[in-house]
């Protein structure tokens, strides 16, 4: 794979290969010197048309841990609109000799568009509702770390599925590794269909016998748009200790962050033993190192 835009066309073998490399990278991060010279001479640009400090830092750290040079370009798409297009911006960076572009945008498809324009490698850092493949990779990595295998495991994704790139990428990726994925949310926040996932408006159905539950952030905009009433959401979709009793005894809890405690999940759950939230953040750097290594160094053997 030349770029990482989403998981369309990816094979299980390719994904497992990246996850294997990520395990080596995780070991690098445990060393006294948390840095390897692998990407010396490469220049990685984070190109963020939508602000996201957490993701940007995780990618930049990943690149730096492998000795790549890193440049950051951040702007609001709204200020781009006048005059300079996305293409102009990217071609300007291209002229400076960028090898990899980490692209984040509030619209689906910007990384796909970018991949048509630049010669370098494009990594999707999150595009609108479409995809957030490195998040899904780190979720998968974290789940594998805890569960050993995803074969036959039931993973429930809960919340605003319709607007979630994290949900879409996980729904593409987890079944590739043998998991059964359920998505649950209020009907106004559910897509009509999502290949790879079973849809339900009933939380209990998704949680029943689940091995892990991924809770999504509920954006304030959805309430403002009148799509959901907060109290109704809390009453029927908040993931609580009590509701989790429907899941497997030691069912795990994931959240891509940032969390709204006591809205999408019971506040104390995030700090409980079930929670993999800190592992997710921790593993993000190793997974992104692996992605950069795989896309920048050579071709598949």
């Amino acid at each position: 794979m030349r770029h990482l835009l989403d998981f369309q066309g990816w094979t299980r073998g390719q994904v497992e290969n990246i996850l294997d490399t990520a395990r080596v990278m995780a070991e690098v991060l445990e060393r006294p010197v948390k840095k390897v010279p692998a990407l010396q001479g490469f220049t990685v640009a984070t190109v963020f048309f939508e602000p996201s400090t957490r993701t940007r830092i995780s990618f930049e750290l990943a690149a730096r841990r492998m000795s790549a040079d890193v440049v950051s370009f951040a702007t609001q798409a709204s200020s781009l609109q006048k005059g300079e297009s996305y293409k102009d911006t990217l071609l300007t960076l291209e002229a400076m000799g960028i090898d990899a572009y980490i692209i984040r945008a509030d619209s689906a498809g910007v990384p796909h568009q970018a991949a048509r324009w630049v010669k370098g490698v494009v990594v999707n850092g999150g595009d609108g509702r479409r995809a957030h493949p490195t998040q899904a990779l780190l979720d998968t990595y974290t789940l594998l770390e805890a569960l050993g295998t995803l074969e036959g495991r039931k993973i429930a994704i809960v919340g605003d599925i319709l607007h979630s790139r994290v949900a879409r990428s996980n729904v593409e990726l987890l079944p590739l590794l043998g998991a059964e994925v359920w998505v649950a949310g209020p009907p106004t926040l559910l897509p009509q269909s999502l290949p790879g996932a079973r849809l339900t408006p009933h939380l209990d159905e998704a949680l029943a016998e689940a091995d892990a539950v991924m809770v999504l952030r509920l954006q304030k905009e959805r309430m403002e748009a009148g799509l959901i009433h907060l109290q109704d959401y809390i009453a029927h979709y908040q993931v609580t200790e009590e509701r989790l009793s429907k899941a497997k005894p030691h069912a795990l809890l994931l959240h891509p962050g940032p969390m709204n405690r006591d809205i999408e999940l019971e506040g104390t759950l995030a700090d409980s033993e079930r929670s993999l939230v800190n592992r997710q953040v921790h593993n993000g750097v190793a997974v992104r190192m692996a992605v950069l290594y795989h896309l920048l160094v050579g071709r598949e053997g």
Binding site: L80, S85, D88, G109, L194
Partner: protein, 426 residues
């Protein structure tokens, strides 16, 4: 005097010939030859009446960076159009008789296709207060429309239909319920869900057509003259069914379909290329099949381009921000000649009618048939195939969803009242 020898004739009446068409004094003088200064060999070519486009965004005044009369009307004649109705959603909108006259005057001086500047239905296209239908008609406006926007206020639309009826002006509507389509940028459904793009549901079109047909019913009941509602760029099977029922019930409604809704589907959006972002959005193959049926049976009266040029940079934004619209004046006929007639057997006679008498009827213009004495607004078409090359477009929008498609039926000579306005003959 111009003589086109051995040419096959095609118009709403059918295919005939070959004939030796003698043209002079702005008319067809003879179908059996005669003396001429210029003689063209029309062997293997088709001669048709010049086309009329009911729906083109020529962007002047105010948005000349996208298109202007000179580039837009040159694109038109290269597409075989003798007449073009320009949309009034310019900056400022065309909502006064002065603006209509100014556009016509400027277009006349260009000597390309004839321009019929549509005027706004409401002042500033704001949907609040009606424009002066009578004076606009006298200034030369062929129809009234707030296209570019939707008519959210049913009461104003009703009043507009009543007012326009007194002067025989059609009112054309962009029929989409804005509150239902919200921020949709492509057809709503499983594909939009999969791609993570906000969907614009087909029901937004159907709901608005249904409402507008009731508004029309009201206007018909209230008006001593016959109002005329024209549905622009109809894109859905359900929308078509509604218009079909209304026509059967005798309602004075007409409708058009665009080249893009007839040849492209939502699948194109898999590329995430804003080139395919258009409103109403590209739909599904099922909708295309319904539209084709509608074209054949007459539920659809015309093919209109909805030629909507934008700058390259605008179309290189993301799908949420890039503007809606596809430029098509230069490819509309070859595209449908190839994709519908050649590949699917759509009758050529009906196809030509949809580019000529169909739209002419909507505007109350006389049909043009290739007979002695007919107005010599004509187009000569070459069945020889060549690829679509947007870089050679006369339009300022030098991009196309059909770039690289190999098409036949390209216009090689366009005449307006006997005057050569475009030629691409050896």
């Amino acid at each position: 005097m111009l003589l086109i020898k051995n040419v096959t004739l095609v118009d709403a009446l059918g295919e005939r010939g070959p004939a030796d068409v003698l043209i002079g004094e702005g008319r067809i003088l003879s179908l059996s030859g005669g003396e001429a200064e210029r003689i063209l060999d029309g062997k293997g070519l088709l001669l048709a009446p010049g086309f009329l486009d009911l729906h083109a965004h020529l962007r002047e005044p105010g948005q000349e960076v996208k298109e202007d009369l000179a580039s837009g009307l040159l694109a038109a004649v290269r597409g075989g159009y003798a007449d073009v109705v320009s949309m009034p959603n310019t900056t400022p909108p065309v909502d006064t008789p002065e603006a209509v006259r100014a556009l016509r005057k400027k277009a006349q001086a260009l000597g390309l296709a004839r321009l019929h500047p549509a005027a706004a239905l409401t002042q500033g296209q704001e949907g609040k207060a009606l424009t002066e239908a009578g004076l606009l008609k006298e200034a030369g406006a062929p129809l009234l429309t707030d296209d570019g926007r939707t008519n959210e206020d049913a009461g104003i639309l009703a009043a507009g239909l009543l007012q326009a009826s007194a002067f025989g002006l059609p009112v054309a509507v962009h029929a989409e319920d804005a509150s239902l389509r919200r921020g949709g940028v492509m057809n709503d459904g499983p594909l939009a869900d999969f791609l993570g793009l906000p969907g614009n549901p087909r029901e937004a079109e159907a709901a608005r057509i249904a409402r507008d047909l009731e508004v029309l019913r009201y206007a018909v009941r209230r008006s001593p003259k016959r109002p005329h509602l024209h549905i622009q760029h109809l894109s859905t099977k359900r929308g078509l069914e509604l218009v079909r029922e209304a026509k059967r019930a005798g309602l004075p409604v007409t409708a058009e379909a665009t080249p893009h809704h007839l040849t492209l589907t939502e699948e194109a959006l898999r590329s995430f290329d804003p080139l395919f972002k258009v409103a109403p959005p590209l739909r599904t193959q099922e909708d295309i099949e319904a539209l084709l049926e509608g074209l054949l049976e007459g539920t659809l009266d015309a093919i209109a381009t909805d030629h909507a040029p934008h700058t390259q940079a605008e179309k290189e934004m993301d799908l949420l921000r890039a503007p809606f619209g596809i430029p098509s004046l230069e490819v509309a006929f070859p595209l449908l000649y190839t994709e519908l007639h050649l590949k699917r057997g759509f009758p050529l006679k009906r196809l030509v009618e949809l580019f000529t008498d169909g739209p002419r009827n909507i505007l109350g213009l006389k049909p043009i048939h290739l007979e002695e004495g007919a107005e010599a607004s004509l187009v000569l078409l070459d069945p020889k195939e060549r690829p679509v090359e947007p870089r050679n477009f006369a339009s300022k929008a030098r991009f196309s969803p059909w770039a690289g498609w190999v098409l036949g039926g390209w216009p090689v000579l366009t005449l307006v009242e006997g005057r050569v306005v475009y030629q691409a003959l050896e």
